[in-house]
Subunit: 468 residues, 3 copies
């Protein structure tokens, strides 16, 4: 295996590299904890072989097609479905070749690291992908995917996953999760409660979603109290199927803490469809605080992923729909935005809120100072565009001195790209070991302590923070 080096991502300086190697050797075989991600629970339930290489590795990966699109490749050429049903490329091999022609674009990006790691470790590829070897590599992967050892459950085991969380709509019946449980397979696949469809008045079909929420729960979602009860019921249902967390993707980190009467009136207005933009935003803000209060009661960990401007290009949204690479970060305030929620529940010892950001300027200015004092707050790992070697390094450099290591929560792979999960955890483990090695060589940490911390960052913190 020469495609990926054993010392990748470690400092070149020999002493630092030596320490990093030693630290990494102590954690490389630890099981993977995957407390937040987007794999499809149906995969594990049905356990069917994956489709061809392009459909598995290229077509669903927005990191890949956004880069290719930026350089003039159309999404149609990459097989991304159009909303109008117009034909798109359906030949996996041609999609794969197109990708191989443009693979050089990923130099210096995490996609390149993940992809090479996947090719090397999962498919025993030993050469960098090029137009010349594209067909041969395609054939090898296609062949392997027919092998039982490449079915979802086998990969889960091969990846040494200890637990993996999916992310599921509040309206989901979780039947795949039920089916996995019923199957007797010992893999631990758990849901996470993602209520955007019934919390965000701007979500498509919001009113109908609330009706549906009422039907499922038997609660009167026409009124505030019944609506809150419906959430409580659904959270219990998710918990029974293993959930330990909720997840919230809001445009901002705004929270609110209205009096119950005011909140009820706001709900009525939002429910009626007559709320204006400010009221709809206020409702989302209020619901974060309500979710946090429920978390104090039921112990589900609250994850907040704010600050993405979704579907920035209306032309692309019209043509291809959501999640097609046009989500762009925005400047995000936390200090003012979180205050209403923190005033309500910020010093509750029973509560864990995991904060994410797409605005790195907030690490040292806002997030580390907040997480470094409020018992309810923890810092999630570098997210999305920042889930990368430089992004992780900046996170440690910017957050550790104020929040320490122990107010962080280890790694999230946060991906729907199942085959890349080991590669993603590996990058995180290596970068953390490299960071710790620097602290050791600069005499800021003993090597013995660094081994303990490395273990926590790779395994312990995620397990405890997410109550797994």
């Amino acid at each position: 295996m020469t495609l990926i080096d054993d010392d990748r991502l470690f400092d070149a300086e020999p002493r630092a590299r030596g320490v990093a190697r030693a630290l990494y050797a102590g954690i490389r075989d630890l099981p993977l904890i995957s407390p937040h991600g987007h794999t499809d629970p149906g995969w594990y339930a049905r356990n069917e072989p994956f489709a061809d290489p392009a459909q598995l590795l290229i077509v669903p990966d927005h990191y890949i097609f956004r880069m290719l699109f930026s350089q003039g490749v159309t999404l149609e050429e990459l097989g991304v479905a159009r909303r109008d049903g117009a034909p798109v490329e359906s030949d996996g091999r041609r999609i794969w070749r197109r990708f191989a022609e443009h693979y050089y674009l990923f130099r210096g990006t995490p996609t390149r690291l993940w992809f090479d790691h996947t090719l090397a470790s999962l498919f025993d590829v030993t050469e960098r992908l090029t137009p010349l070897n594209a067909d041969a590599i395609f054939d090898r992967i296609a062949e392997r995917l027919q092998d039982d050892a490449y079915r979802p459950r086998a990969l889960y085991e091969r990846f040494n996953l200890e637990v993996i969380s999916t992310t599921d709509s509040a309206l989901d019946d979780l039947r795949w999760h039920q089916q996995i449980r019923d199957s007797g397979w010992p893999g631990r696949v758990i849901p996470a409660y993602r209520p955007d469809a019934v919390v965000d008045p701007d979500f498509e079909g919001f009113a109908a979603n609330l009706d549906r929420l009422g039907e499922i729960t038997g609660c009167d979602t026409g009124h505030w109290a019944g609506y809150l009860d419906a959430h409580r019921q659904r959270r219990q249902f998710f918990k029974r199927l293993g959930a330990t967390s909720t997840d919230h993707g809001h445009p901002t980190a705004d929270t609110a803490n209205l009096m119950p009467k005011e909140a009820g009136m706001l709900f009525d207005k939002v429910r009626s469809g007559k709320a204006d933009a400010a009221e709809r935003a206020l409702f989302r803000a209020q619901m974060l605080t309500e979710m946090a209060r429920m978390s104090v009661e039921d112990g589900l960990v609250l994850q907040l992923h704010p600050g993405s401007w979704r579907n920035h290009s209306p032309a692309m949204m019209d043509r291809f729909g959501r999640d097609k690479g046009f989500d762009i970060p925005t400047r995000t305030d936390y200090v003012r935005a979180l205050k209403p929620m923190l005033d309500a529940v910020g010093i509750e010892p029973a509560l864990t809120i995991v904060m994410f950001t797409l605005d790195e300027s907030s690490y040292s200015r806002e997030l580390a100072p907040l997480a470094g004092v409020y018992p309810a707050l923890r810092l999630g790992p570098p997210w999305w565009f920042h889930d990368s070697p430089e992004g992780m390094r900046r996170f440690r450099e910017l957050a550790t001195e104020t929040a320490g290591f122990y107010n962080t929560v280890g790694f999230n792979d946060d991906t729907r790209a199942f085959p890349s999960i080991p590669a993603r955890h590996d990058v995180s483990r290596r970068i953390d070991c490299a960071f710790l090695a620097r602290l050791v060589t600069e005499h800021r940490l003993d090597e013995e302590e660094a081994h303990e911390v490395a273990h926590e960052l790779a395994y312990g913190l995620a397990k405890r923070a997410y109550r797994l």
Copy 2:
């Protein structure tokens, strides 16, 4: 002494480390200039032994109790007094043990560096603090604190302090400073003029404070002109006791430059208690410009510490009062905010304004460009959450290329933790030497020049900028 390594904070790369060592050797024994801090002048005046180890090293240190609180230790358990007088832990040994149990939380933080340095250099401790050795270390410190060599004046001398500034209310009678002067002890302890209590309409007891200011000075603080005169008098009083600077802690960096008549009307409204939030903010903004004008007259250096959201948690404020770890940085604008003041006095060669920030994004975008052209502006060292190895490194990397070294002012320890002062200066000196060593090994600076610059950063710049 094995607790702290002689090469700590230097790059691992041998050539860079060698240069850093040589630079550091040239400055390590320079006297400490401490132009801004919060030690108690009564300590030097009374020169009594310090209380037990916990009361000296743990209880007053908000870096320490904020981290412990974030991980579930209550402030009561740490002996922090409650406003309602309810009992809190009073046994220093138990507080010390609790700290030792949680000492691992500080891995990767500056507190760890300062604490180890203090234990090693002041108390000859040779092992990392753990629950197992906590009692023995407590006993050793407690014993030493009874020794005359550990009284405040002896420590001042041992620390090789050349001068230390306290920070004092405009209403303070400075009797401790007078008493130090009268004592014949040659240590140089000087006050700094901090007028928040009589400048900020939101300060507790503002109106009464203005009355008191009038009594002290004999000026009519019921009117704008008399109020300004009272400031002038108090500044002269502070100068007579050695002050060379003023200090201003505002929520923002806003300044204003009203016509005198408008300013007088604003004062009347603020004085009457009828000013709204915008008017109170405008008054603070106007007073920065007034203070700058007085600095042109009397030569006191103006320090501005903006951008902290004080007492972010009302629950903690109610229970424990100010300065309990819940001050959180906010995004801070300088370019627009400082303009009225800079338009008035920014190119005055006689004026020195030292700017601080808690918003690191402003270093390269705003502060270095401003200080790199306005003769009145200088950049203060990394402040508070950024007074740390990575914070200092970022400051040099982000500010030097535009502002140079000579528009910065050396180090401030800015602390009330007296025993940690040498440790704090040592971190700064080492990080600066490491930064300079990088410039030397990358052939961006000659080693001979780096020696000169290291001397300036450790000693000369602070002395000249603060006119000491």
Copy 3:
């Protein structure tokens, strides 16, 4: 030549340095592409000797006089002309001596790197400039400047420039460019279309400028359609003289996309001088989108340089006029600001927009995500205050993982300091090689690939992005 080291700006670590050296050796002799800058086309046309050393190297360089001014040297002492015609220093030797006395202020700044490189490589100076050798160095430079080998065209050839773009007012007759073409000299000096004077209602003499634009083009610039046609004509004129780009320096990155009728009404109001500040800003915003539309038609690359608060000090503006060091960066939004333009033309494959910023917090949060998906967007190199070793390193670290290398456009020297052009390109080439060397030693990129990328960053990307 001992003033500048052959390994300058490379990491000290031997393996990284070795790789950087090898990469640099492969590109150091590539021709310089200078697609954006501010040299005077008259220099190449007239090809007369440059004036004395101070007039060439000190007086016109705002990096130099801003730093000296910040430390108490007046602009008059540096020979900068006053608007009131009052006398300023005119003796080049005295200006040079004053600069030499203060040369230490530039330690750690890019000016120091550029200046030393220029002295060493162009004038064979072997010692750092000091007050002691100032006269001798002045004399040597003065002597050389009389030599034909130091005339503008000879320097262009010596610098190995392949093409250089100037920046020219939309109203310019481009006669120097015509004269260069007519001269038969094979140097490629091309204009760029900078229409601020006829696009920005706040520009001095805006109405008269529009009249002049009408006269030049024969279009009716009293109406919207004629005004747009006049732009089209001028762009064609610039293209005929070699232009491949336009350049736009707006206070913000705001764009707008009004209906034609609304735009016409806005134009009428702006034309009449009755538009308020918001309308004037909206007009600038609208014109960016109009310029982008014209770029789709005529293929000129659109450069946007937003976010500078021009002439921050009114006192200095009054005394010395524009461009005297008092332009200060401001926080700049792109995600919301560019949306109207991107909605209109962002996915046009024929369009290239090169984005610059003075707000480094936008690299990873906004610019790299936008350029990493919109086909029309590319990232310009670090600009102005960030055109420096640390600034370039941050740019690569912050932008590459999301935008890759291939959505960037190589280097711009962006200078009117002609003799420093090789030095500026050299810094960029070295820092890029050092960055690539780190990727290689950390096994994130193969050395062979790094050679390819280094070539692109030094030459290929600029040439293709700017269509040269």
